[in-house]
Amino acid sequence: MTTLTSALYHAAFYADMVLTVGSACVVAFSKNIVRSAFSLLLTFVGVAGLYGFLEADFLVATQLLIYVGGILVLLLFAVMLTHRISNIKASNETSFSALAALAATGIFLVLVEVGTKTHWDVKGGPLGESTRPIGLLLMGDYLLPFEVAAMILLAALIGAAYLARNAIRK
């Protein structure tokens, strides 16, 4: 491994960390809800990149397909459908933001303290290619959750369509 490749790898990792946290900050603090929604896209992509650094190749694809391709599009639909374009500048007000910032900072400090002070039993060693073992586990040990998840998705689809249809008919 040359030093250049290594330096690029490190730069990519830290850039990804900054991208993830920075765009999450925009989601949390932006005055414009459309900007919040679009920087949530960057947060999801950044988390997908971190999955890549953790060698979770299947989860990278899942994150991009479901979060970026599905959930984010749903959120954008929700933003666009429930929005008055006239007041787009002040569309994302906050209330109790001092108390919320205090609580969030407290939680952050506790989590960082626990995460850095605890001695984690790190075993190391990459897990290797993940798609095949995940498929085998879904058809084996995790078969019941897999089937329940299918039922939940079906119920959510029908429920969401029913709720939205009633609302639009009015």
Partner: protein, 106 residues
């Protein structure tokens, strides 16, 4: 030390803690119901990142990946139902501001 072991677990925990705190802030402080949902998504992403990081570094098998997949699935179901509810609320109240939604009988 191989290249892939270069990053300690704490880096991921740090990013995850930041995402969780920002998600809590968004969930508590925002008035817009859709923005609150974005906070929930941030929190779910931070939990997923922890699951995958611990799966890679301390557990040594794929159980964390499976949990992350099921969390992603529930997030998708939640987003779909929440979109339906938010649209319904908007039709009834003409607003999705959480402060405006104070009537029990729409």
């Amino acid at each position: 030390m191989s290249l892939l072991d270069a990053y300690p677990l704490q880096h991921y925990l740090l990013v995850s803690a930041a995402l969780f705190a920002l998600g809590i802030f968004t969930l508590v402080a925002r008035k817009n119901a859709v923005a609150m949902l974005m906070g929930v998504e941030l929190i779910l992403n931070s939990a997923n990142l922890n699951f995958v990081a611990f799966s890679r570094y301390t557990v040594g098998n794929f159980s964390g990946h499976l949990f992350a997949i099921f969390v992603i699935l529930l997030a998708a179901a939640e987003a779909a139902v929440a979109l339906g509810i938010v649209i319904g609320i908007f039709q009834n109240y003409g607003d999705v501001d959480a402060d405006a939604l104070d009537g029990l009988k729409g």
